[in-house]
């Protein structure tokens, strides 16, 4: 019997082999990053847009480190605190990826943040930027809080995917409000709520452990995006492999029909044929 397979993740124009998307930030070196990406199984990685080091260039650049022919690049707008800046950065990222001939030139991970301490999304700026980028032809993957109404607003603004945070970026606190994520999934995916089962919802940020990934997938998320949980683990390559397994476990488990929770125990071994003393009998 063959092992049940996890199907690809379809997000707008992209079909990803892996439902785990990983970041490329915070790694101690390029070798570790490449090994961790490979162990994660991810075929899509996020990157940021920053000033070229023109005047004090040293070391290798990310473009030297990544196997660009094997990966779909998802450029982000990290570091943006208003819609105008996010649109600027998205356009710069697109121009770069067009030069590289990478499929990632058609989409963007939109982040418009509220402040540097919390890194929580600015919902108004995110919505403004989403509208403008959709009009400009981008497939927009919107980083959002776990607010279900905001998720619907972003979807209605044309976002290709809504990506609610499990918890704030880099905190490793996991899925802080599973009920909110579940409601987002209901609203965006259930036809009874005006959603579509095919609408992709990716939990993004705050993931610290493989079980966090599994929980997100068990709740019904289509994928998980994380960076720090792997990059800052003591053994990033081992953690990347664990995150991959956690993702597959959650996807399969969510579709395998879990048992109902019961207050009292149910024996797995038969009572019939017991030769022991049983209390009360």
């Amino acid at each position: 019997m063959t092992e049940p397979a996890v199907p690809p993740l379809v997000v707008g124009p992209m079909t990803l082999r892996s439902r785990l998307v990983v970041g490329t930030g915070k790694y101690i070196d390029g070798t570790t990053m490449r090994a961790a990406i490979a162990a994660s199984g991810a075929d899509c990685v996020t990157v940021a847009v920053r000033r070229e080091r023109l005047f004090n260039a040293e070391g290798r650049s990310l473009l030297d480190e990544l196997p660009l022919d094997q990966l779909t690049i998802l450029p982000n707008t990290a570091g943006c605190f208003n819609a105008d800046d996010a649109v600027r950065i998205a356009r710069l990222g697109r121009d770069l990826l067009e030069q590289l001939g990478n499929a990632g030139s058609s989409w963007v991970k939109l982040e418009v943040l509220g402040d540097r301490a919390t890194l929580l999304p600015d919902p108004i700026g995110t919505l403004e930027a989403c509208r403008e980028l959709v009009n400009d032809g981008f497939a927009v993957l919107c980083y959002s809080s776990d607010d279900p109404i905001m998720a619907c607003r972003l979807r209605d603004a044309g976002a290709t995917s809504v990506m609610p945070a499990g918890s704030p970026i880099g905190t490793g606190r996991g899925i802080a409000n599973p009920a909110a994520i579940r409601i987002i999934l209901e609203l965006l995916k259930s036809p009874a709520h005006g959603g579509s089962p095919d609408y992709p919802v990716i939990v993004d940020a705050g993931v610290g452990t493989p079980s966090d990934v599994t929980l997100a997938m068990e709740l019904g998320a289509d994928g998980v995006l994380l960076n720090t949980g792997i990059a800052h683990a003591s053994d990033p390559v081992r953690m990347a492999a664990a995150m991959r397994l956690g993702c597959d476990a959650g996807w399969l488990g969510a579709r395998a029909g879990r048992i109902a929770k019961k207050l009292y125990a149910t024996a797995s071994s038969p009572w019939e044929g017991t030769i022991t003393s049983i209390p009360g009998e």
């Binding site: 990157v47 000033r51 070229e52 650049s61 982000n76 990290a78």
Partner: protein
């Protein structure tokens, strides 16, 4: 004339194109995206875009991020 490149002042000859500046900066054979005065100048326009004194030029690339 003086232009501002990634926050630093730089003296360049008059009528220099953006592409010539990028080559001058040693970036001629590497992918980079550029905006001038906060507006993207697409790669296909780098050869024809002539720089003016005082313009703010940002040359960016991709770095690790989440």
């Amino acid at each position: 004339m003086i232009v501002h490149v990634n926050g630093e002042s730089l003296e360049i000859p008059p009528k220099m194109s953006l592409r010539e500046l990028i080559v001058h900066l040693g970036m001629g054979d590497r992918p980079c995206a550029v905006e001038i005065n906060k507006k993207l100048v697409p790669r296909r326009e780098h050869e024809t875009r002539i720089l003016a004194a005082g313009e703010a030029i940002e040359v960016v690339t991709l770095v690790g991020g989440g």
